[in-house]
Each structure stands twice: as structure tokens, then as C-alpha cells.
């Protein structure tokens, strides 16, 4: 993703303040990532006195999306941005390319292997990739199941440190 801090500097002070609030809202399913890290904040703007926050789903059936919308609204209320609205948009499907570099680092520290490579090559190549163990950095890993604890993750096992781990699918 493009350098976020340089983009932010071009925003009005008020919108920057709103982004600072969004930086505190965590993804309920991966609670080390903020909604900004996750790349689901597509637009923040002020229209006729109302703050409009556009967010996109990661997966169609993601049960966290409604919770995220409530959390965003709550955080903005707490920061005295009381007139806000969260909108769901689909205009471009979310991709793991939008997870920030900071977000990928946080994922690894949390024990989840961050998405590796490019999702543009097609999802089917995904399962043949070598996934690096987030615990010991070994490449000697194998997939247990393409479907993990949530829609966005697959289940892997490290054959060196023998730990099972989640892999955040390229999507």
C-alpha cells in the first residue's frame, strides 16, 4: 500500500484527527490489527456536518463487519465526533495488499503468518506457496486445512518447531 503517513499529511486536520481515532479501533477477530492496518477504511469525509466513514468487507460472510461498524461509531462518539455514519461499500473487493506493512509485522508478532506474495496470481496458486513459520521462520511447513478459525485464515503446521499456526490468506 502507498505510504499512509504521507497521504495523511495532505488531509485536513479534522480528517487527520478522525484517522487518529480509527487507529485505536481493533479488528475483533485479530485484535492486534487496527481497522486502518487491515485496509478496510476506504474513505473518510465530512458531508453536511456528518462524518462519513466508508468500510469494505474482507469476506462476504465476515461476521465481524457489523461489530467493526459499531466499534468505529462508538470510538468516534467517545472522541466527540458524535455525528458520524459508517457505510459498507463494495466498489473494489478488499485485498490483502491493503494490509499495511505495520499490520503485517503485527500479525507475525501475534503468531499469524502474514499474507505472502501477491493475490493477483489467483487464489488457487495460493495453496501451493511456501509459507514461512511466524514462530521460527522455517520454510519447512505444511498446510493442514485451507480453512482456519476464521474465513481469512488457513491452518498450517511447522515441521521444524512443530507448532501449528494460522496463515492470513492472500486474498
Amino acid at each position: 500500500m502507498v505510504n499512509q503517513s504521507s497521504i495523511r499529511e495532505q488531509l485536513s486536520t479534522e480528517i487527520q484527527d478522525i484517522y487518529n481515532v480509527l487507529d485505536t479501533v481493533l479488528d475483533p477477530e485479530v485484535p492486534v490489527l487496527t481497522v486502518v492496518d487491515l485496509g478496510i477504511i476506504r474513505n473518510v469525509r465530512k458531508e453536511n456536518g456528518t462524518i462519513q466513514v466508508d468500510i469494505c468487507p474482507t469476506y462476504s460472510g465476515c461476521p465481524a463487519l457489523d461489530v467493526i461498524a459499531i466499534d468505529i461509531k462508538f470510538a468516534l462518539d467517545q472522541a466527540c465526533f458524535t455525528n458520524s455514519k459508517v457505510n459498507y461499500i463494495l466498489d473494489q473487493p478488499w485485498t490483502t495488499n491493503w494490509i499495511s506493512e505495520d499490520g503485517k509485522r503485527k500479525l507475525k508478532e501475534y503468531g499469524i503468518a502474514p499474507p505472502q506474495g501477491s493475490p493477483d496470481k489467483g487464489q488457487l496458486g495460493e495453496m501451493d506457496k511456501t509459507i514461512i513459520c511466524p514462530i521460527c521462520d522455517s520454510k519447512n511447513t505444511e498446510m493442514i486445512s485451507a480453512f482456519g478459525s476464521t474465513a481469512c485464515k488457513s491452518l498450517y503446521r511447522c515441521k521444524d518447531c512443530l507448532e501449528p499456526f494460522d496463515y492470513f490468506k492472500c486474498h
Binding site: 469476506y59 461476521p63 466498489d91 473494489q92 473487493p93 486445512s145 485451507a146 482456519g148 474465513a151
Partner: protein
Amino acid sequence: MNKDLHNYIIQLGDNSLILGHRISEWCGHGPVLEQDIALTNIALDHVGQARMYYQLAATMEPGKTEDDYAYLRTVTEYKNLLLLEQENKDFGYTIARSFYYDQFHLLILRVLKSCGNKDLSEIAAQAYKEVSYHCRFSSDWVKRLGDGTEESHRRIQRALDEFFPYTAEFFAPSEADNYMAGKYGVDLSKLSSQWSVIVENIVREATLTMPTTPYPQLGGKQGRHSEKLGFILTELQYMQRTYPNSTW
């Protein structure tokens, strides 16, 4: 309201909801934990996709919400493919049903992704990513069961044989399908041979035999369903029918 377009969106939504509901019946009953989780994830994808279609349909029909389509329509108003309401029976039947449909689903989404209807192409682009995983899951299992033990081979073959007559409905156009072909180039007849080639290759690789049948099962798109759909709706709609207008 454009009735044909609306019907088409409902067809897509109903396919996703009914298959999603069927697969969700496996939750807590999967053969092993990983496959239980996989099936539940797939069910969630389907139900999520159904919501997107119903939300879109609701924007075309004043006063409706996504819930109206799911909870307040009768059997004859549902337009899902007959295959998708068929019972899970065993893991083999569940895999066979998904295998036939997933391969068709991916083909239709590929066309919808680049069709001229912006709303549908947005949903299709999102769903396409998810369905490519479904395809991999179901085709891997067809191969594993076919090329597995004598019993798994026999049972997946039986399931493929029994469900095959329902696949003809994928390519039998409804009025709504004809509208989409004319207006947006979503032409089912072009997909039929592609689907056959893909499916036959996997079936052969699985050391199984491709079924044939002169007796296609049709009618779901027109609302002529088996009694099985009634049982699904009884469970799905129970709360809303018993406590009308109840909300979370």
C-alpha cells in the same frame, strides 16, 4: 422495477442461501475437526453472498429488506437450483453436490465479474475469490474419495450418479437468464461445454466415471421445488413466522 433483473438477483441469492443453509447443517458434525471448520467457513461465505444479493434486490423494491427475501417468502417463490436443496446424506453426497455447483458457480461469477451491470459485477468480484477456494476444496475431496478406499470410491460415485441429473438445470435458461444473456452477455449455453470439460477431467483424475442421463431434473428456477425445500424453510423461517417482526 426491472422484473427480470430482480428475478435474476433473487436466483443468485437463493442459490447461495439454500446451499449455505444445507452446508451449515454440518456444523458440529464434520468427519474431523478441520473439515467441520472448512464446511462451516464455506457455509458462511454462501450466506454472506446471499445477503449481498438480497440487499441489492431490496434496493430495487421499495419497502423490502434482505430479511423479507430470506424469511418471508414461500417455497414457490424461491428460485434456487433443485440440486442445492438436496439433502446432505453423507459426506460424499455433500461433496458431490458442492463439486458440481462450485465449478458452475465459478464460471458464472467469472462472466458476471466483467458484465456491464456494475452492482452485480462488484458482488461477483468479491464472491469469485471465495468460490475459487470452494472449488479447490470440493474437487480435492472428489479426488481423495474417488482415489481412496473401495468404499469411499463406491460412495462418491453413487453420489455423483444420483446428483448428475440436477446439473442440467444449471444451463436451462429461465426468463431471467435469457434477459441477462441478451442484455449483459451472461450466456449459459457458452458455459455448458466449459463446465463439462472441467468436471470430466477431475472425475477422470479421481478414477471415477462421468455419469450420463437422459432425464434432466428442472424447475427450481421457476419455483417448482422438491418437498425438501419446505423442510429447509421451516427451520430457516421458524423464528420470523412464530414471532413476526422480531429483531435481534
